[in-house]
């Protein structure tokens, strides 16, 4: 029942929005629906962590500990993104009809996004992931400028291209299973059948799935769509896409890998580590040379996805534990960064890093918030990512893949330096004459944007000190569901 409610809430919000309710009210109802979903997801996570998965329809719909945790992160992101959107749309000059469609598409996107961790049939997980693309295309191109439409086109074309490659991999996976005499294609069956499957098919299948979903997660070198999409999409959409890329997709890939690697001769883990390291390293270098702060944050998302995949594939359950921890801390941190940047954008009206100077002296509180959020993203203490990155390095160095952990440490240091370098230039620095002239921009920040910022900041700060006991329990259960044991 709870699982059904997860889909009913955004559906209700969608109907309310479409039926002509005043826009602000529709936005708050959508946000309220997301809040209900946060509570549902927490209850689901608590149930699933106690042992058996919560099942709505056998073989089709249900949540295990890992899935429920991902759902919780998605709903939390949706809550703040919707609240931020209310203020963002209020000060935006778009026609009312387009603003209304924004909330409609947003709720459709949420239904697809929530379905990813809840579906148990792998082909349907694939469908849900593709639908997240299709429902977010018009959110990405919301501005309706040629550049925004171009961004939407590239985003749709390349991620659907990835999906088409992934479905070939999934079909091969089915083939391998049916040749071994298995007829049900759920997560559980995949795990049960994996040791009996032909490694020749399995390896190609996994590679295709990794490339396909990797394109959707913008893993390097399949990230061509990402810079444009992020620089044109509205800030709350960037936050949601980040959660999709660094929580939902790593969830799918890690879960497939956790089953596939049981097959003798499987290379799933090596490939995950390879792609993960290339993405983490490549993204760190891209962060160094980027010119726009939204792209900077986008590259940081790729870097984190790479770190998560690398750590998740290491032959150590402590590393898997740390990888899921990293999923949690990144999914709470990245929205905060985009909201802070969104508020900073309202102040400065510029996207290029070189055109943003001296934010702190123009608005002390926005400067401070941007600085804190940026440092949290870079992985500085006392914020959430610091602890989880430390845990990854510690577990990684003790695992057989210590070399990968050493490389990860280097990439983390490069990206830390690059992010803080760009950040300091934007926040500190001296505002030039052109920046002073630009102060005619409206600097009243909508209250809902500030509310979203505050709500998003709470978990980042708390998780920077410790993991609350229930969450620690859920995290352990999620790790166990991947087949790892706590050390």
């Amino acid at each position: 029942m709870l699982i059904w409610l997860t889909f009913i809430m955004p559906l209700l919000a969608l109907v309310v929005t479409a039926s002509g309710t005043p826009l602000v009210l529709a936005g708050w109802i959508s946000a309220f629906a997301a809040l209900v979903n946060v509570i549902i997801a927490a209850v689901l996570a608590a149930h699933a962590a106690d042992g058996a998965p919560v099942i709505a329809i056998p073989h089709w719909l249900g949540a295990n500990a890992f899935g429920a945790l991902i759902l919780l992160l998605e709903t939390l992101g949706a809550l703040t993104a919707l609240i931020f959107s209310i203020g963002f749309l209020a000060q935006h000059g778009a026609p009312a009809g387009r603003k209304r469609r924004y909330f409609i598409w947003f709720n459709l996107f949420l239904i697809a996004l929530y379905a990813v961790p809840l579906l148990r049939e792998i082909a349907l997980v694939w469908l849900a992931l593709t639908l997240t693309t299709l429902f977010s295309v018009f959110l990405v191109s919301f501005e309706r400028t040629p550049a925004a439409l171009e961004a939407g086109w590239k985003y749709a074309l390349l991620t659907i291209l990835g999906a088409a490659i992934a479905i070939l991999g999934i079909l091969l996976l089915y083939w391998a299973q049916s040749r071994a005499g298995f007829t049900i294609f759920t997560w559980g069956q995949l795990r049960a059948s994996a040791p009996k499957l032909s490694p020749a098919i399995l390896n190609i299948a996994f590679l295709l799935i990794l490339i396909g979903f990797g394109t959707k997660a913008a893993l390097i070198p399949f990230h061509a769509w990402l810079p444009d999409t992020y620089s044109r999409a509205p800030f709350p959409i960037c936050a949601m896409l980040s959660i999709l890329e660094s929580a939902a997709i790593p969830y799918v890939l890690l879960r497939i890998a956790a089953a596939v690697h049981l097959a003798p001769g499987s290379r799933a883990d090596q490939w995950l580590i390879l792609f993960g390291l290339v993405s983490a390293g490549g993204a760190a270098l891209l962060i160094l040379q980027t010119h726009e702060y939204k792209r900077l944050f986008a590259y940081s998302t790729i870097e984190n996805a790479g770190i998560i995949l690398t750590a998740g594939a290491m032959a150590s359950s402590a590393a898997r534990h740390a990888a899921i921890w990293q999923i949690i801390s990144h999914s709470v941190t990245k929205p905060l960064v985009f909201y802070a940047a969104g508020i900073m954008f309202l102040l400065v009206g510029k996207l290029r890093i070189s055109e943003v100077r001296g934010v702190l002296s123009r608005s002390p509180w926005i400067g401070t918030v941007m600085m804190a959020a940026g440092l949290a993203m870079a992985g500085a203490p006392p914020f959430a990512l610091f602890l989880s990155e430390l845990a990854i390095l510690k577990a990684g160095l003790a695992s057989p893949q210590a070399w990968a952990a050493i490389l990860l440490a280097c990439f983390m240091i490069i990206s830390f330096c690059a992010i803080t370098f760009h950040l300091f230039r934007m926040v500190l620095g001296k505002p030039g004459t052109s920046e002073a002239a630009a102060d005619t921009l409206p600097t009243t920040i909508p209250r809902s944007c500030i509310a979203a910022l505050i709500i998003a900041a709470v978990p980042v700060v708390i998780l920077g000190w410790y993991i609350p006991a229930p969450l620690a329990h859920w995290l352990t259960a999620a790790t166990t569901s991947l087949g790892g044991r706590m050390p």
């Binding site: 049939e121 082909a123 349907l124 694939w126 469908l127 593709t130 639908l131 299709l134 295309v137 018009f138 191109s141 309706r144 400028t145 040629p146 550049a147 439409l149 171009e150 961004a151 939407g152 086109w153 590239k154 749709a156 074309l157 659907i160 291209l161 999906a163 088409a164 490659i165 479905i167 070939l168 999934i170 079909l171 091969l172 089915y174 083939w175 049916s178 007829t183 294609f185 032909s198 020749a200 098919i201 190609i204 810079p227 444009d228 620089s231 044109r232 980027t290 010119h291 792209r295």
Partner: protein, 224 residues
């Protein structure tokens, strides 16, 4: 079924696969949008034909449903939807731009076909003749369609190549996973329809704003 009949059906499966691959080449060579669409429809028909033949071969009624769904969705609905959402771009009678000229592209497609056979080779031990026909050709169709996307510069041909990738994947799929749950095939078809709707509308918006659907010339967002 008599062995004669089985051999005969297998011959037909092979023939269909050959024509299917030919359509992939055609999609590279077509010089007008309508031509691309016709070839795509033809390829979808061949997909349906292959599903019917394999349905007889494997005694699977699911595959007959797959064939019916493919005909309804891809042969009838998609051309209809495209004419509705992107009318202007569809009927424009002009040469399509390509980054690499057609003969060179066809050679590359040939190389991709060989690559597909090479990749699939290790998987083909102890399999039916139908798998031998459809799996490598499905793979080849996917690779060629990916290549086609990269050389096409206009929105609709890019989108049709995208749909051709899906065709290729399911062409391989019907042979290797005949008892693949029907819901999977339906999901794929639903997805294809959504893609056509979304991208059709998007390309119309691009057309309206910039007066052309040459997405290849859109380069405002290059990282400098």
């Amino acid at each position: 079924m008599t062995p004669d009949k089985i051999a005969w059906i297998n011959q037909l499966v092979l023939l269909t696969a050959g024509f299917f691959l030919l359509c992939s080449f055609g999609l590279i060579a077509a010089s007008q949008v309508m031509g691309c669409l016709r070839i795509y429809v033809m390829q979808s028909l061949l997909l349906a034909a292959s599903a019917v033949l394999l349905g007889i071969d494997y005694h699977s009624t699911d595959l007959w449903i797959v064939a019916a769904v493919a005909i309804i969705a891809k042969v009838l609905l998609i051309p209809f939807l495209l004419r509705r959402t992107a009318r202007q771009a569809m009927i424009a009678r002009r040469e399509l731009q390509q980054v690499i000229n057609v003969p060179m592209s066809l050679l590359i497609a040939l190389a991709l076909t060989v690559l597909a056979y090479y990749l699939v080779g290790p998987m083909l031990s102890e399999t039916t003749p139908a798998v031998h026909a459809n799996l490598p050709i499905g793979f080849a169709a996917v690779l060629i369609a990916i290549y086609t996307i990269t050389v096409r510069r206009e929105a609709l041909p890019q989108m049709l190549s995208l749909l051709a990738i899906e065709n290729g994947a399911f062409f391989a799929g019907i042979a290797i996973a005949p008892n693949f749950p029907l819901i999977g095939e339906l999901a794929g078809t639903f997805d294809v329809l959504m893609v056509v709707l979304t991208l059709g509308v998007l390309s119309t918006q691009i057309h309206r704003l910039s007066g052309s659907t040459e997405v290849g010339t859109l380069s405002e967002l290059m990282e400098d």
